[in-house]
């Protein structure tokens, strides 16, 4: 396939990023904000072509919330392997980046960057739905380069 048609198809493919949420020991605040971003008519992300999918194998952009607790660490890493390439990882909230208020707990297995590469951070506790959409836009730009 020539370079021109490759980039044209890439640009079309970039208009359909599918999102998959992983809750790695979150307090659920960021998960509630993700639910509002997706399902409230006010913040409709389906305009950007995004859609929540039910299976990690269908995912393009991973939305990770929560500190990586020790109990869930192996499962999250196994789940990360199941998502097919190319993929983009987005950390929602401050917990995946730094641990937030749970930083010094014995149950926290460390910031995510020690285990899987993260591409976009969206700080906030929890971040506003508009902030999530803004971060998602940056993630979609990154993903458009990779597909």
């Amino acid at each position: 396939m020539s370079l021109i048609s490759r980039s044209f198809l890439s640009r079309i493919a970039a208009r359909s990023p599918w999102l998959y949420r992983i809750n790695a020991g979150s307090c659920n605040g960021c998960d509630v904000e993700l639910a509002t971003t997706a399902f409230l008519p006010r913040y409709d992300i389906e305009r950007l072509g995004c859609q929540y999918c039910g299976s990690p194998k269908h995912a393009d952009i991973l939305l990770i919330t929560g500190v990586l607790t020790a109990r869930v660490k192996d499962k999250v890493l196994a789940l990360y392997e199941e998502v097919p390439d190319p993929k983009v990882t987005v950390a929602i909230g401050v917990c995946p980046i730094s641990g937030g208020v749970f930083r010094e707990s014995y149950a926290v297995a460390g910031p995510f960057e020690n285990y899987i590469p993260i591409d976009v951070n969206i700080p906030g506790c929890p971040p506003r739905p508009q902030a999530i959409i803004e971060g998602l836009q940056k993630a979609i730009v990154l993903w458009a380069d990779r597909i």
Binding site: Y43, L48, S98, V101, V120
Partner: protein, 169 residues
């Protein structure tokens, strides 16, 4: 069947979707976004670092003063630091545009440097006193010039100035 009037109403009223990200978002003026630090007001009491639940505030030493660092990626936006800051040096501002790619992770800081000042009375080193702090310390003093004068003095010079004023009054 019973849902049809609702669907018809929805069709007539049209989408309720905010047009962000295709236009400017609507941010109310009292939105609690990130913290902003103004170095000229800080009195270096360090109460903010003590009460921060996430440990996002750190102080360090620089020549002639101290440095203040607040990591946005650790801050949980609780507002305790602003609540306990008597000098009103830390304030939440409605800026929530904080998302970034990971190569900019360590750039997401609010920094400032607070330098000690020379006392106007005895010439020794003193910590700055902001206007809000001065009003809190001396709520009974209404005279603006007096407050401004007291702000330039160290604690002992302030004590002697107030004592002479009370003796004169």
């Amino acid at each position: 069947m019973w849902y049809l009037p609702v669907l018809l109403k929805n069709l007539i009223e049209g989408p309720a979707t905010e047009s962000f990200p295709f236009s400017e978002p609507r941010t109310p003026a009292t939105t609690r976004g990130r913290m902003s630090f103004s170095a000229e007001d800080c009195a270096l009491c360090r109460m903010c670092a003590r009460v921060c639940p996430a440990g996002a505030i750190q102080f360090g030493k620089v020549d002639g003063g101290q440095s203040f660092t607040l990591w946005h990626n650790s801050c949980v936006f609780c507002g305790l630091c602003a609540h306990y800051c008597d000098s009103k040096a830390l304030k939440p501002i409605p800026d929530w545009h904080l998302s970034h790619t990971t190569d900019a992770t360590y750039d997401m800081v609010e920094e400032g440097q607070v330098f000690a000042q020379k006392c106007g009375g005895c010439g020794r080193q003193k910590m700055p006193v902001s206007e809000a702090l001065a009003h809190k310390l001396y709520p009974e003093i209404e005279d603006k010039a007096e407050i401004a004068a007291l702000r330039t003095l160290c604690p002992s010079c302030r004590k002697s100035r107030l004592a002479t004023r009370d003796a004169a009054a």
